[in-house]
Amino acid sequence: MKDLAQHALNVAELAGASYADIRIINEDSERVEVKDGQVGSINRRTSGGFGIRVIANGAWGFASSPKIDKAEIERVARQAVKVARASALLKIRDLELAPVEKYIDKYVTPHKKNPLEVPIEDKIALLLKTDEIMRKVKGVNITESQIAAWVEDQLFASTIGSFIEQRIIQCGGGYTATAIRDGDVQYRSYPCSHDGQWESNGYEMIEALDFPGHAQQAAEEAVALLSAEQCPSGEKDIILEGSQLSLQIHESVGHPLELDRVFGSEANFAGTSFATTDNLDQLKYGSDIVNITSDPTCPMGLGSFGYDDEGVKARKHDLIRKGLLVNYLSSRETAQKIGKISTGAMRADGWDNMPLVRMTGINLEPGTKSTEQIISETDDGIYMATNKSFSIDDRRSNFQFGTEIAWEIRQGKLGRMIKNATYTGFTPQFWNACDAIAGPGDWKIWGTANCGKGEPSQTARTAQGCSPARFRKIKVGVIPGKK
């Protein structure tokens, strides 16, 4: 493969490329689903191919193919240069890239058990056992659970001289109980919604989640929600549980700090950002206790790797320090525009897509108090857990989130259960209202397995680490007819 990769780079240079890189990838994946006591589906997939990215005449070109042989690599390398020349018809200036070091290295996701080597029978048995526990709870109508895994082998080579081999191992899963009564539909998921928790890790993470051990509680809470009070409307102090806060970070910190979208690359699709570059080192994004990093080296993070998809070594970077915006998620091209080095955030969905600036591990550093202590210091609030709906505008300013479950907080104690909890706000105002973050004991890195961006549409697997946090005077209960 290394010879083929080198050949591709040579052909691209001979065709006129001033820079070229190639990623040769094979990804094996598997998904096992159980629904209502039966195996719903088992899907296994292998996808292999290569993508060649070039700069020619000062503009980008990209071409790819699933057929990995010498002749095809030559054809695709020349096609990439042809595409770049077409791009150059509309260039304003020649592309410039921030510098990157040359690396010859190998990286493998730390793991104990390759999830694709664990027998399917074991996964089915675990899901059926979990499913059975949920279905025994009276009032539960639908039960669904799943386990999925991806193992990607990648060779990256560039005309800078880098040859980087990586094996990224990711897996996860979860389940949901659904209760329906009189037109009301309520869900409870474990360990979180959107198919569960995902990590760059081995199958040991599935075992550690103890699916059966939490199934009864999830099912009982789904049924209990049918009789719960509706979310009140007004301003409340809210405490967000980890997985909900993880999505809040993803949507209102991760995306707005993607430097390609700040520069308008996503203006037609994913949108732009309120956090324009004139805000760098100026914008008070959050309160003084808000410290957020990009850290693709974070153990178990779904967005962790050794090198990004343009050969930049994974490193931790500050994004927000003591509430101040200090950097963006960047690529070599975008970092150069603000006079910085790349934060190593270029990632592509498979072999057939050009890398984009994506989230890695976007982590809110922990505070000092325990979650219990923060609750005990809240007089009139709502504790909200597990995302149910999420929506944020194209500049990442205004958001509305809903959670599966919530509890009223009165005089420092959790009270009655609340259903259809929603909250809304504006990004910097919201993060400046953060006055308490739970400590390292409650900190966890959560995975988002389906982050969409780009045209053609790409899916990225990202991570956000956090512990529960409190936000003062947030507008809650915003759905008409759900008051």
């Binding site: 006591g37 039966q38 195996v39 719903g40 589906s41 088992i42 899907n43 296994r44 997939r45 292998t46 996808s47 191919g49 503009a59 980008w60 071409a63 790819s64 193919s65 096609q79 990439a80 042809k82 595409v83 077409a86 791009s87 150059a88 018809l89 509309l90 260039k91 399917i120 089915i124 048995a125 059926l128 109508n141 639908i142 329906i180 037109g183 539909v185 520069f263 308008g264 690359s265 203006a267 037609n268 949108g271 732009t272 897509n353 050009m354 709906s389 929506s391 505008d393 194209d394 500049r395 300013s397 205004n398 809903g402 809304t424 504006f426 045209e455 053609p456 915003v478 008409p480 759900k482």
Partner: protein, 442 residues
């Protein structure tokens, strides 16, 4: 190189030859998706991607496994067959599996144009160049894309079924920007010569310029006039949440227990019809190889029925309508070509007849808030205008909505002339009492 019918049949036959037990189905899909992407009046991403994937379903003793690969050498196909066998063998208990059907007859849908499918990067760049030249004259910046797509779908099984269909389309999307003000227009056509890049760009640019110095509106109930792209949002959500038979059977659909009852306004008739002449992205068969039928979902406001696959049809003792997804799955059948019957009004007529209202180009980041009612939330984007005294008076800042969709389709006052929106056909709508619940800017 496009895979023709004979080649597809050979590939499917070869894949099936590696199956040593049980019954099998193979689905081969070829996608060639070149795309030229612009931002800030320059091409910033230009890609040529293509793939051919093959997915093998294998049923053994009432249990089913599926394995997919994009490698077509003997070893890879043998491995896929082995993985599917291993998966099927691993299943304990029974699955409710729909049968693999025998040969079927399909109607012809002409949805392929060779010159569109095989456009070169230079042709896409020329289209972009025309658009950008207009933008420079008006001192706005364009983002957007031009993409020509080729899609080949072939399905075969060990009972002799074989289906083949190919589609192509050309899409141009343009978002014109000036500061934080944006205007958008998008067009998808079957044949490249049906698309005028300067017209697409011109509409987007005029929307952008017309939206400058936008005002804030107080949240509340408004009469809205929705352009066809905006109409696809409530219609798409209503369709996938409520119009599949499994959702109805599971009591998750707003149609559950209400078939035959009046749910929406008299002026609402919704069908699923792959054969509608304006449906651009349409196939004559579903993922089970069953011919697609035209299905009336809502007729003059009355709930008529969902779309079915083989499994859900058996449960309701009826016939499939040809809306199955790859089996087995936990999703159930889905509508694929939603047609909302229109009227004779134009967008201009609707604006003239409106004392005070909001014109919406499209909605963005739409998500489900309540599964069954259903309620969705989202925001306006890329061209939102205030209408006063029958005229567009100014641009308005984007607003968030939370909207009950059944209520929405009870509040439709006027329907316009339907047009293609890729796999859907929808008219512009004038709708009363639309719920804007917040602003997107402080």
């Amino acid at each position: 190189m496009m895979i023709d019918k004979n080649q597809a049949q050979e590939i499917c036959k070869k894949a099936l030859s590696f199956v040593k037990e049980g019954q099998a189905e193979v689905n081969m899909v070829q996608t060639v998706a070149p795309l030229t992407r612009i931002a800030n009046n320059t091409i910033h991403q230009n890609v040529e991607t293509s793939d051919i994937s093959l997915s093998l379903r294998l049923d053994i003793d009432g249990r089913s496994g599926r394995a997919a690969t994009n490698q077509f050498d003997d070893e890879s196909l043998k491995r896929a067959a082995g993985q599917a066998t291993e998966a099927a063998r691993a299943i304990t208990g029974q699955q409710e599996l729909p049968p693999l059907m025998g040969p079927q007859k399909y109607k012809d849908i002409q949805s392929f144009d060779q010159s569109t499918a095989l456009m070169e990067p230079e042709q896409r760049a020329e289209m972009v160049l025309k658009a950008v030249n207009l933008a420079k004259q008006e001192k706005v910046e364009l983002a957007g894309l031009v993409s020509n797509l080729l899609y080949v779908n072939a399905l075969a099984n060990s009972n002799g079924l074989f289906a083949y269909h190919r589609m192509s389309q050309l899409t141009m999307e343009i978002t014109a920007r000036s500061g934080i003000t944006a205007g958008r227009h998008a067009k998808t056509v079957r044949k490249a010569d049906q698309l005028d890049p300067e017209k697409v760009a011109s509409i987007a640019i005029q929307k952008c310029l017309g939206g400058l110095n936008a005002k804030s509106l107080e949240p509340g109930e408004y009469t809205v006039i929705l352009e066809p792209e905006a109409v696809t949002t409530p219609l798409m959500f209503l369709s996938y949440l409520s119009f599949g038979a499994q959702a109805v059977q599971e009591n998750l659909s707003c149609l559950s227990g209400k078939l035959g009852q009046k749910l929406m306004g008299d002026n609402i008739t919704i069908t699923d019809d792959a054969y509608h002449p304006l449906a651009i992205w349409a196939e004559p068969f579903d993922s089970e190889g069953m011919p697609k039928k035209k299905v009336t979902l809502i007729e003059k406001g009355v709930a008529k029925g969902p779309v079915y696959d083989l499994k859900t049809a058996a449960k309701d003792q009826t016939e499939t309508t040809g809306h199955g997804l790859p089996q087995p799955n936990t999703w159930g059948p889905m509508p694929r070509n939603i047609i909302l019957e229109g009227g004779s009004s134009t967008l201009e007529d609707m604006i003239k007849s409106t004392q005070r209202g909001v014109l919406v180009t499209r909605f963005w980041y739409n998500r489900v808030v309540d599964r069954k009612i259903p309620i969705i939330t989202g925001m306006t984007r890329d061209g939102t205008f205030l209408i006063e005294d029958g005229k567009i008076s100014c641009g308005v800042k984007n607003m968030r909505y939370n909207q009950d969709l059944v209520e929405f389709f009870n509040n439709v006052e006027t329907l316009g002339l339907p047009e293609s929106q890729e796999n859907m056909v929808v008219p512009p709508l004038k709708v009363n009492n639309f719920h804007f619940t917040g602003l997107t800017e402080q």
